[in-house]
């Protein structure tokens, strides 16, 4: 049994505690916004927040989320109001295929919490998610716009 808070609600899931959080979210809970890309914490498509910090959920056993606050892309908007990162993404028409973007947005939201006005160097150092469509130029512009909107 694993117990954690997911997007503000308590969740209890009957699952092998070694199961990665990603698969608990996708298969036991049924929230599929968080994506599988590599399974080895390389690509960042599975990024969620745990107690506000960006974590690659494909490589985190659900046991390590025990008792913690987990936020997924589905929980980023509050009461139907987009987070400033999502808003900037919408304004800049960032996604192409979009598959990596949930993880990208979660990584950026955590970065802006830690560094409200990131420089390009901050972005380079902290945003290491893979996008094969190559949205990076739009991602960078949208990060700066989101930072400016705070």
């Amino acid at each position: 049994m694993a117990r954690f808070t997911l997007n503000g609600q308590t969740k209890e899931v009957d699952v092998d505690p070694a199961t990665p959080l990603l698969w608990v979210l996708r298969e036991q809970v049924g929230l599929t916004g968080t994506k599988y890309g590599c399974g080895i914490a390389q690509c960042g498509a599975c990024t969620v927040h745990i107690n506000g910090e960006a974590v690659r959920s494909c490589s985190l056993p659900v046991s390590e989320a025990e008792g913690k606050q987990v936020t997924t892309i589905e929980g980023l908007a509050q009461n139907g109001v987009l987070d400033r990162v999502q808003k900037a993404w919408l304004d800049h028409d960032v996604p192409q295929c979009g598959y990596c973007q949930a993880g990208m947005i979660m990584a950026v939201a955590a970065l802006l919490r830690a560094k409200p006005k990131p420089t390009d160097a901050d972005i380079d150092a902290n945003i290491t998610n893979i996008c094969r469509c190559g949205t990076y130029q739009q991602v960078r512009a949208a990060i700066h716009a989101a930072a400016a909107s705070a």
């Binding site: 916004g33 980023l76 960032v94 295929c97 990076y136 739009q138």
Partner: protein, 723 residues
């Protein structure tokens, strides 16, 4: 397993026999006889609901390239509807077959989604508009010629009466479609040609978009699969008893002759059990193959006697023999993996009476044909529900994973099963960008004019493996000569050289090749454009000026090259330590060029400062999305140049995940400065073309910086890095 040709042939049979028609499809709005199977519609392309919501049908696939939005813009433009009320939907391939292929071709490959369907989708929109206007005119008992439509409102000019599309849609659907349809002049476009935002963004930002990996069906099980690590090898045996007691395991099944799958309650359980399953393979002779033996095989082709000739003028060999100066170089380009972010997957519900597939495919009709073939059910009892693609890049044009998913689901009749490849399976069972080598020999006369060029390509044919029916009668693979052709509309060689010979010695290793964004243009442009640079330097001339002299007969190629050179400031001093390289090519109907600006430290630290990219795609349906395609193509192409390289050992692909197959991150992204210069009298593609010129432009800039010519890749093997 299934290769393309069987599917292609089958898809053809689907279209010709199921519909009782000859090849080809009807004018899309001419046949409404069996429309009752679908919701009320004005015609096949347009549904208008009473609240004025306009649903535009999209036959092609959306994998990030933006065709869904672009095609909707083209229909909406002719329809004269309110763009803010537009939605899209995908008719299934099964519906297409049932309706005599009313939506035409379903493939999104070769940068052709828009350019090959633009005329009939626009006519679909225009016909619907005429029918809606006629319906309003009938109601008012006035001539239709006195009415006009704009923004989903129909106005009767003389009386200023108005109604909306939604109010007359039902009546319009019963009106005879017009036969004489005049399309708008693109200069009058109000929705098409504009940088409107994509239609599919919002749901992607909140985790609501459904990719095929996200499909849920009641009672669904999940499966993980492993195919022979050596392509062409067979599954010998597996010991299911060893994992029978693992939690969640339902069944272990043989899939075709080369793979084994575990079906489980959850995918993570199935995957975990598969990893513990003892499996024996019969790899066969291919287990002896390595990258070194493949390179030797290709090297032999550089001197082979009986090549296929792709382009010829004068006598290149004689010109070379009598040259004042001879320049020679050998280049090589290796395998690349697609590595779409969404690993391949499909969900299938099979019963003895029906086979339904939910998947992300670049070729819905091939997926349908694969479902029919693998299930043994007639096409009419199968269908494919297309979902968003988490990347395609050519890989999802094949239906091998659909075939597998159907074979797995057949083992569990009545239960939906989702088959998902691991990243490792996705990377080792890919259809790789093919490998080739190229020897180029150029002849300069005493005045340093280029009088002859022989370009010998040796290497792998995609069609020989995936679609042999498309090979020429003599066995040639015309796709090998992309960008090198003497004529046509797809990829014309942009230089006039009096004595020219471009030929191909086909050498096919066992590693499965495939179509990879840009396809053979990727290496052909490196070969030609880097060698042009070598020739220019050998002639003591500026690389741009050297090219210009050879391009007088190719004004469209030249115009894009000139535009890029001007924007980049070619010929003017670059910032201290920054060096430039230039390249041009034509492909998929579009003319493209790039100028890269780089700096390179003595210890190999490469910085990509800026790439100016130009494209003449004839018509620019959505400039904002074209700009994004240009940006993205550079990330895909330069990832291959910097890091990409699938290598073979003991017959197997060595790279399994992003830790050994690196790709560019945001920190490595150059600033891309895009010039969109549509010249208006043709329709070219945009998803791929600019990818060709990124790598040679960067390579030529590296030469400018170092005086060293790099002819094998990736750059990481030359101790050059961007991270």
């Amino acid at each position: 397993m299934n290769d393309m040709p069987r599917i292609d042939r089958r898809a053809f049979l689907v279209s010709s026999t199921a519909a009782g028609l000859a090849l080809g499809f009807q004018v899309p709005f001419a046949d409404e006889a069996d429309a009752q199977a679908l919701p009320p519609e004005v015609n096949a392309w347009v549904v208008v609901q009473p609240d004025d919501t306009v649903i535009i049908r999209i036959a092609r696939s959306e994998m990030g390239q933006g065709s869904e939005t672009g095609l909707a813009q083209l229909v909406a433009e002719e329809l004269e509807c309110d763009w803010s009320k537009v939605k899209v939907e995908y008719p299934t391939p099964g519906q297409n077959v049932a309706r005599k292929r009313i939506w035409g071709d379903y493939t999104s490959t070769g940068s052709r989604s828009i350019r090959e369907s633009q005329e009939y989708v626009r006519k679909g929109g225009a016909a619907a508009r005429a029918m809606l206007i006629q319906a309003a005119a009938n109601e008012w008992k006035v001539p239709a010629s006195e009415c006009r439509a704009a923004n989903s409102v129909i106005t009767h000019g003389p009386t200023n009466r108005t109604t909306t599309f939604g109010k007359v849609a039902e009546a319009a659907a019963k009106i005879e479609p017009p036969t004489d349809i005049k399309l708008k002049d693109p200069k009058d476009w109000k929705i098409a040609g504009k940088p409107v935002k994509r239609l599919d963004t919002y749901d992607k930002l909140i985790g609501k978009s459904t990719y095929s990996i996200d499909v849920k069906q009641p009672g669904m099980l999940s499966a993980a699969i492993k195919a022979s690590p050596v392509h062409g090898g067979k599954l010998k045996s597996f010991d299911a008893a060893k994992i029978a007691n693992m939690k969640g395991v339902r069944k272990v099944v043989r899939v075709g002759d080369n793979a084994v799958a575990v079906i489980g309650d959850t995918w993570y359980q199935a995957k975990t059990a598969l990893e513990a399953l003892p499996v024996e393979w019969d790899a066969g002779e291919n287990a002896k193959v390595s990258s070194a033996t493949i390179n030797e095989l290709l090297k032999g082709g550089l001197d082979a006697d009986t090549p296929f000739v792709g382009n010829k003028a004068g006598d290149a060999k004689a010109a070379i023999a009598s040259a004042a100066k001879k320049v020679e170089a050998v280049y090589a380009y290796g395998y690349q993996a697609h590595a779409c972010m969404e690993p391949l997957n499909a969900t299938v519900l099979y019963t003895p009476d029906k086979c339904e597939v939910w998947t992300s495919s670049q070729n819905g009709e091939a997926a349908l044909a694969a479902a029919s073939e693998a299930s043994g059910l007639p096409v009419g009892k199968c269908d494919v529900h297309k979902l968003l693609l988490g990347g395609g890049f050519g890989r999802r044009g094949r239906a091998d994973y659909v075939t597998q998913a159907v074979l797995v689901a057949k083992e569990m009749p009545g239960t939906p099963v989702k088959l998902l490849w691991t990243r490792e399976e996705d990377m080792t069972q890919d259809s790789y960008h093919p490998t080739t080598q190229c020897r180029l020999i150029g002849a300069l006369d005493a005045n340093n004019n280029l009088t002859g060029l022989h370009m010998r390509i040796s290497g792998q044919s995609i069609l020989a493996k995936l679609a042999p029916s498309r090979l020429g009668q003599d066995g040639r693979d015309p796709v090998t000569f992309q960008g090198l052709n003497p004529g046509g509309t797809e990829g014309v060689f942009g230089y006039s050289i009096p004595n020219l010979l471009i030929d191909h010695a086909m050498r096919n290793p066992h590693v499965t090749p495939g179509f990879w964004r840009g396809v053979n243009n990727n290496q052909n442009s490196i070969y030609v454009e880097c060698f042009m640079d070598e020739l220019a330097h050998a002639a003591g001339q500026d690389p741009l000026e050297f090219r210009r002299k050879l391009m007088a007969n190719h004004p469209k190629h030249l115009a894009v090259l000139n535009a890029v050179a001007e924007r980049a400031g070619w010929g003017k001093p670059a910032p201290q330590g920054v060096f430039r390289g230039i390249a041009q090519q034509m492909g998929y109907g579009s003319y493209v060029a790039a100028c890269a600006e780089i700096s390179l430290s003595n210890d190999g630290q490469l910085k990509l400062h800026r790439i100016v990219a130009g494209t003449d795609c004839g018509h620019a349906v959505n400039p904002a999305q074209i700009e994004r395609q240009v940006n993205g193509s550079f990330v895909y192409g330069l990832s291959a140049l910097l890091y990409g390289g699938i290598t073979i050992k003991d017959g197997r692909v060595e790279q399994e995940n992003f830790d050994s197959y690196n790709v560019m991150r945001i920190s490595e992204m150059p600033k891309v400065d895009t010039i969109i210069m549509p010249s208006g009298d043709f329709w070219g593609g945009v998803g791929e073309p600019t990818i060709f010129v990124a790598a040679p432009a960067v390579l030529n800039a590296i030469f400018a910086a170092t005086g060293k010519r790099i002819r094998t890749f990736p750059l990481s093997e030359h101790n050059i890095r961007t991270a």
